[in-house]
């Protein structure tokens, strides 16, 4: 291409680069959003599953096999959570992608969604667990006293309230994923960071290119945060989760939620 050279200054350079390579950036944005949104949703379900496993109560009445199964399930949940919270996602990405590629032959994009999902799931499990613990134990007892078993109680009484309470933290995971999905460039997922390095490589102007990248990331996270706040407000009023029967729910994560005590 015989184009005029880019202006040497930061702003001029950045504008010039964006003008020429906008589609490459937006392709990255598309993948970044695709990965972070789907991985947050999948991660939420993984988290729900493992948080429920951790909630299993070994009761005196259980027979030996039930006790053994429950103990084993709890152990698996604990190992999963500790391993994926205790190692960097960039390491998980390389290990899992290359480790499983010979067996299932997945593409970087699919691997990216799976890795971020599994990673998010471990954090979600802890978020949901905290959400569950914020629910007054009277809710559990009332449900059990109506004859609902542990599973019914979790699904229809505890989790709907816990998820509502944990919503700010769940939404925050989405914002984190928008940023942290950048590490997937190590396995060649063409998300925003990966695309930016490609552009920077072509024009050989890292500073100017990554100003654009930073601004795009900021726009994405800022917009998401504002949208999540809106949803949060919706959840809080007037059907908000407040009431004498679960007063501790008002104080989840150390801040007083709007809506107050009824």
């Amino acid at each position: 291409m015989n184009r005029a050279p880019l202006p040497p200054d930061l702003i001029g350079g950045a504008l010039g680069i964006y003008e020429r390579y906008a589609p490459l950036f937006w392709f990255g944005v598309r993948n970044t959003l695709l990965i972070s949104l789907s991985a947050t949703i999948i991660g939420l379900f993984i988290g729900l599953f493992f948080a429920s496993l951790k909630q299993l109560k070994i009761e005196k009445k259980d027979n030996v096999i039930t006790k053994l199964i429950k103990t084993l399930l709890k152990l698996i949940a604990n190992i999963y959570i500790e391993v994926f919270r205790g190692t960097p996602m960039i390491v998980q990405a390389i290990f899992l992608y290359h480790g499983l590629r010979p067996i299932i032959g997945w593409t970087p994009l699919v691997a990216g969604v799976v890795i971020v999902s599994i990673n998010t799931g471990a954090y979600m499990a802890e978020i949901i667990r905290a959400g569950i613990q914020s629910i007054d134990k009277g809710q559990y007892e009332a449900s059990r006293s109506l004859g609902m078993n542990h599973l019914l109680t979790m699904v229809f009484v505890i989790l709907p309230q816990a998820i509502k309470n944990a919503f700010p933290a769940i939404g925050n995971e989405f914002v984190v994923n928008i940023k942290d999905s950048a590490v997937l460039n190590v396995i060649g997922v063409s998300e925003l960071y990966f695309q930016s390095t490609a552009v920077a490589g072509i024009v050989f102007r890292f500073r100017d290119t990554f100003l654009i990248t930073a601004l795009i990331y900021l726009t994405l996270t800022f917009t998401t945060t504002q949208l999540l706040r809106l949803v949060e407000k919706k959840l809080d009023t007037p059907e908000g989760l407040v009431g004498a029967s679960s007063s501790s729910a008002n104080n989840f994560f150390g801040f007083k939620r709007k809506g107050g005590q009824s």
């Binding site: 009277g138 007892e141 006293s145 004859g147 009484v157 407040v242 009824s262």
Partner: protein, 241 residues
Amino acid sequence: MIEIKNLSKSFGQQEVLHDISMNVSEGEVVALIGASGSGKSTLLRCVNLLETPNSGKIIVDDVDITASFNIDEYRAKVGMIFQSFNLFPHLNVLKNCTLAQMKVLKRSAKESEAIALENLNKVGMLDFAQMNVTKLSGGQKQRVAIARALCMNPKILLLDEPTSALDPELVGEVLDVIKTLAQSGLTMLIVTHEMSFAKDVADKVVFMDQGVVVEAAHPSILFNNPTQERTKAFLSRIVHG
């Protein structure tokens, strides 16, 4: 109907119930009274297996509930009313009453709703069926909680200080509902601090102190001519206040 035999319960080192034995016959209303920490609530929670006894037996309708059996099936037959109501805040009044009916008794949505409305009507909360439970007053919440329990057609109703969390002016409306239920022949076990209420509705009053049953008798006897020193001391404290 309920036969409690040599029941003991400890939390760690602390023994809260010591060798309790008592009977509740069908249709009988039994009031458990005593100072805080005397073990009344724990005894009630043992009957619903919210607490597991360390030793002793609880036999309900000839079945030993402390032995292995279907706990959920049993609980569906035994209603429990809590001091703090424990309504489900994410559901409205009607859905609070229909959830367990549909999930446990496998009733259809339509049938559950009809039964819920009937019971809400019984406790005077029919007009509030579509309300958010968090908007209700304490007395209204407790009446909904009673309706919710009644929807399961319980054979026994356990009430754990049903009016203790209420403002004084709201106590009456809840006690009235419980009175009506008592007269309808439902077997009830009530932990209460409302002595005049216990006098009114109970067929038998059980006075507990430090984890043991001190005295059990018809209210006219227990309140007027208690035989035990500890009962006398407790009642004089209540009266003189």
